[in-house]
Symmetry: C2
Subunit: 205 residues, 2 copies
DNA sequence: CGACAAACCGACCCGTTGGTCGGTAGGAGG
DNA sequence: CCTCCTACCGACCAACGGGTCGGTTTGTCG
């Protein structure tokens, strides 16, 4: 039990700094040695715990990455309020965090998808799974909104979810380099317009 | 003169296959040797024409990439029609091309921006320049639309442009792996809604 | 204290990387 | 026919990549 704890602790440390470096420099641009150097660990330790660099990344994706997406993008939109409000607040928060993050390199999941797209099918399956989780949660939030009368009944929930995800991936990419605060502001304004346009119209009988 | 022609021809060949491979595998995942192998040329030829791999990429960006953006995303929205229509048609065309492209790896410029974001400032300056060109052209198209009465006068042209670019970067990323045709369809529907919401309302006196 | 396994070390392997450099083919000009 | 320069060749280099492996530390249990 105690042993298992120590094992877990080391693996956790490796995964955390691994994710940080992969996020910062990209997967292919981060060597196993880079990670080990930061941890003052050796090759032996790494390959004792993980089969390969690829396996290592997949573990990170399934542990840390999923959780990150949940806490950042899914849990905030779970609730019984107007989903449009929840979504706006969620996007606002997450973009605000990015603005104030000195070391922001974009949308973690988005960056990896971009890097592995059509190049590493094995890893892509995992990333797509995570993305899908976000998507279905968005869709069901929107559908609940339709049911509860917050959102117009004619709205295509899947379409809206896809559009939201697309725009989020894009804005996070753009915010990395230029004037994140201003970009966020302009983006959020348009997002609000868009969401307003799908809210259920008061039946002006 | 004749010599200059030959020089240009070789450099052009290198850049074209260089761009293809960079687009396909990413910059860091494509070695100079990979490019040379495809061309049956030698290291000597490469470093005779270009200072470094980085310099090579910058040349590609300034030549081929700019042109690509112009012909795909800028020229189609230049014209005296309703800019909203032009934009919709432009997006429709470019997404349709992606759908039918067996070897689609996403939005060229977007991929590179993602790869170099916050990692290679020198290259990023060039990529941001190209992006800016697209942006200002979008903005001015929208402003012209406002002036000509196609677009509501209260619309923030820069915000709309940013939102369009964001969503485009995102959807192109998403279309690489899963059901591009269906994604395109859903995306375009939402895009139309969004653009409809900023068109100038008929003055229902 | 001794035994034994889990956790970790680091030298080593070998293919690949961006880049260099001395050389050469071949066409233009004299 | 000789010269000269552009365009290209390809062997070579040092650094680095992921991954292996025989060995040592460390903690636990008897």
């Amino acid at each position: 039990m105690d042993k298992n704890l120590k094992r877990m602790a080391t693996m956790q440390r490796m995964q955390v700094t691994g994710l940080n470096l992969f996020y910062k420099n990209g997967y292919y641009n981060t060597s196993v040695d880079d990670i080990l150097k930061e941890l003052s660990l050796s090759k032996g330790a790494f390959y004792y715990h993980f089969d390969s660099k690829e396996d290592f990344f997949i573990q990170i994706a399934e542990n840390l990455l999923v959780r990150k997406i949940y806490s950042m993008l899914i849990e905030p939109i779970e609730g019984h309020d107007n989903p449009l409000k929840l979504i706006v607040n969620c996007f606002e928060d997450v973009l605000e965090t990015a603005v104030h993050n000195e070391m922001d390199y974009g949308f973690v999941l988005g960056n990896f998808i971009n890097e592995f797209n059509a190049r590493n099918p094995k890893i892509m399956r995992h990333l797509n799974d995570i993305l899908k989780i976000w998507e279905v949660n968005l869709v069901s939030a929107i559908q609940k909104g339709k049911f509860d009368g917050h959102i117009d009944r004619h709205v295509d929930a899947e379409g809206v979810a896809l559009y939201l995800i697309s725009s989020y991936i894009g804005i996070r990419t753009l915010m990395v380099e230029t004037a994140p605060s201003a970009q966020k502001y302009k983006f959020m304004a348009q997002l609000r317009y868009f969401l307003k346009s799908i809210e259920s119209k008061p039946q002006t009988a």
